[in-house]
Amino acid sequence: MENLITGNEAAAWGARLSRVECIPNFPITPQTEIIETLAQWIADGDMDADFWTLESEHSVLSAAIGSEATGARTFTATSSQGLVLMHEVMYIASGMRLPFVMATVSRGLSAPITLWSDHNDFLANLNTGWLMFHAQNNQEILDSIIMAYRIAEDNKVLLPAMVNMDGYVLSYTKEPVEFPAQAKVDKFLGKYRPKHAFFDAKNPLVQGPAVLLPHDYTYFRYQHDTAARNALSVTRKACEAFRKQFGREYGLLESYKCDDAKTILVTQGSISTTAKAAVNAMRKKGKKVGLLRLRLIRPWPAKDVARELANAEHVAVLDKNVAPGQGGIMSPHVKAALFEYGAKPIVTSFIMGLGGNPESVGMFEEAVRLAEKDKRGGVLWLE
């Protein structure tokens, strides 16, 4: 059965179906509806979880670490300024190898302040050692949160995970979403029984202690890096198990009509759905165009990305973000992946969609036209 719900409600349902036990939280637009929905369910007795209201996002993430460190399945959500206020604690959560899940609802960063969506908040976390998933629609938000718990809690990984959606376009927009049956989700996730993070007064633990020797510090960083790399195959297997259990297909990325494409658009998040409509429109005109949607951002599936793009002549990376002085955040990732693979399409980087600046089918058609004229791989801003 399908239900008409917002992206925020889909995230809340993902947490509820995953039977999370603790939700430290702080409100921020456009995420607040997630924790409001969870608060309502807990107040009504529809959901059994601790609901902790904190005084800042820095405290929220610190509390999430504390809760997850006792072995309780933990969930939280944030956006924009809240997410960057968490930044210091992000590294502690992943360094302590605590596999909880946070829904993030993308919103541009101040200054100047904005409420609308772009990906600079989410992508500020590329080096924090978290797993990072980016959903394109409300169904994928719900499904990705469930999958994220399974991947994060796997002994080969044991890292926290972010699941991102675009603010407003998904967070406050109702779409039909199918709810997986609770019994099936219980079977898919199992009980979380960590061997390294639990509370037992008779066997006290120090978690995340000081490491005074650089050699030991390097060991833990190496383990962290290996764990993140392991998440590539663990995610692949989780997607396969999810398909078998629930019938919906996901991967590390989504390849849309790339096989014979001369020019491929690269996107992430909700703009991908508009980009697919543009691909269909251009295909009708006989143009061989495809779309590669990035879904798993960390760990970075470089080989998979390069394999999909290797036979194209032109690649247009559409970054809904900007790293001033550098360009789009994802386009160097794509270029590096292609370089390592030995493939040499011309990669054009586009900056678009900042602060909620809307995309359109026409914009993607123009990006393809400009990319096909590009001989050196430039950076262009679109509006």
Partner: protein
């Protein structure tokens, strides 16, 4: 010599966690002391300010309510000597 690092993946054992009870009880922090507070009990008025203010809980009270310094844990911060209203806590240099 520079070496290329390779570790096998250690799963949950590769998380920075250690089993530990109240290990502070086994650390002789008194060895850090440069100056030693010495209480002159003949002048002490048993106000217990030193006992209250000691940041390490290294001052204990006997059954008559008189304060004594536990030199195993006293780091010699001298908060007690500073706070004593009758100045009955002397400061003596530690001699090694």
């Amino acid at each position: 010599m520079t070496k290329v690092l390779t570790y096998k993946y250690d799963g949950p054992r590769g998380a920075p966690v250690m089993k530990a009870d109240a290990s502070a009880a086994r650390v002789d922090t008194g060895s850090w002391r440069v100056n030693r507070p010495v209480i002159d009990l003949s002048k002490c008025i048993k106000c217990h300010m030193c006992w209250l203010d000691c940041p390490d809980g290294a001052i204990y009270l006997d059954k008559d309510g008189k304060p004594h310094v536990d030199y195993t844990f006293c780091k010699g911060c001298l908060v007690c000597a500073n706070e004593c209203p009758v100045k009955c806590i002397a400061v003596e240099a530690e001699k090694k």
